[in-house]
Symmetry: C2
Subunit: 230 residues, 2 copies
């Protein structure tokens, strides 16, 4: 590893959810100056963006940016397309809340920022355990993205260093994620996971994401600070 490869900067993708908050805490614990990036991509629940900003502040991010992204123009997901209903029941296979090529798009924009910053590490809270229905949350995908990224940048092609896509949550259960984040001081009350929160940001408690989250707190033996409605 050459001297130029050492950088204290990392780009961390932040959604406002539990997983990315824990990922940020892990990157901070490794000593990185964390440049966090959230996307305003037409998601139905705007509270995500406020949660991302609150998490970045609580965990001492060096800088937090929000990028507007017109994903609605390509449609295809219940999270961005108002014509598709969000299901109440967990289904099998790939959920209707899948956003086409979402991690590829988010990682690509993080990659551009990493190059500008001179960062060699991009952190994403991808997890293959609870969300195995998402192809872009698998290690095979992350490895392929990393290989592509190292062909894409002038700094990597010119041999100055190696870009790493970091996925510290990849093999962790939801309970293990919560236990780790709890130990690192993550304030999970600031995070939001619900696919269908009410106007005050309170969680529905019945969607896939709420069920996984609640079960994770229970299994980890950590009090669940999530505000649920009625």
């Amino acid at each position: 590893m050459s001297a130029s490869e050492v950088s204290r900067k990392a780009v961390v993708l932040l959604s406002g959810g539990l997983d990315s908050a824990t990922t940020l805490a892990m990157a901070r614990a490794e000593g990185f100056d964390c440049h966090t990036l959230a996307f305003d991509y037409g998601q139905r629940h705007r509270g995500e963006l406020a949660a991302a900003a609150a998490v970045a502040e609580q965990l001492g991010a060096a800088e937090h940016r929000v990028m507007r992204l017109d994903l609605g123009a390509i449609g295809g997901s219940a999270l961005t397309d108002p014509e598709i209903e969000v299901p109440d029941e967990p289904g099998r296979g790939i959920p209707v809340t899948y956003v086409p090529a979402r991690n590829t798009i988010f990682l690509s924009l993080a990659l551009g920022w990493a190059e500008v910053l001179g960062a060699w590490d991009i952190f994403i809270g991808a997890n293959a355990v609870d969300y195995s229905g998402y192809p872009d949350c698998r290690p095979e995908y992350i490895g392929a993205f990393e290989r592509m990224a190292n062909q894409a940048l002038k700094v990597t092609v010119e041999g100055e260093g190696h870009l790493r896509i970091r996925t510290p949550l990849m093999e962790l259960s939801k309970a293990a994620i919560i236990a780790a984040g709890h130990d690192l001081g993550v304030d999970y009350a600031r995070t939001t996971s619900c696919y269908d929160p009410d106007e005050d940001g309170r969680a529905c408690g019945v969607c896939d994401s709420c069920r996984l989250r609640a079960a994770g707190f229970a299994e980890a033996g950590v009090p669940d600070p999530t505000p649920y409605r009625g």
Copy 2:
């Protein structure tokens, strides 16, 4: 190749320039219904977007979309950052007009749309001959992106087909591109290549891009329809 892999639809990235116009003509000549995509990413010369729409219409695209993209938020290029001057002289190595991770970002968004459309082919006018300073215009990069894309989508991971990144211009000289597009009926007067056009969209004639374009028309023996200023 399974029956489900056959699709007449393709996504074609369209910049308003000469290369992507020729790429669209080639995709049309292969019989594809072409869904063209341009990006409003804060580029200085807004005439690009009008040119892309005019090219899509002239060459019979099935549909043309423009996606807003807040690339200015990550900075780093003379094309989007007003603090960086566009050079008059061709330089060596990677030009200052390089946009960080640009093709990765553009291809990722095209990938999302391809999945929604059910298209297996994405066309991009990447060329390794004239623009060898851009790492994301090399065949090694395109191959790595294609491998990543086939790990990213539920349809490819579930084995329904194979996503292809098509680069018909990759090994062609500028003259060969112009000759091929001329034969396919591309109206190059509708395209724009200049890094620094005037308010009426007339080309400067001295930037890297203008020089390559003019030399290409001369070498191909095709009249240059480019409007140059004074």
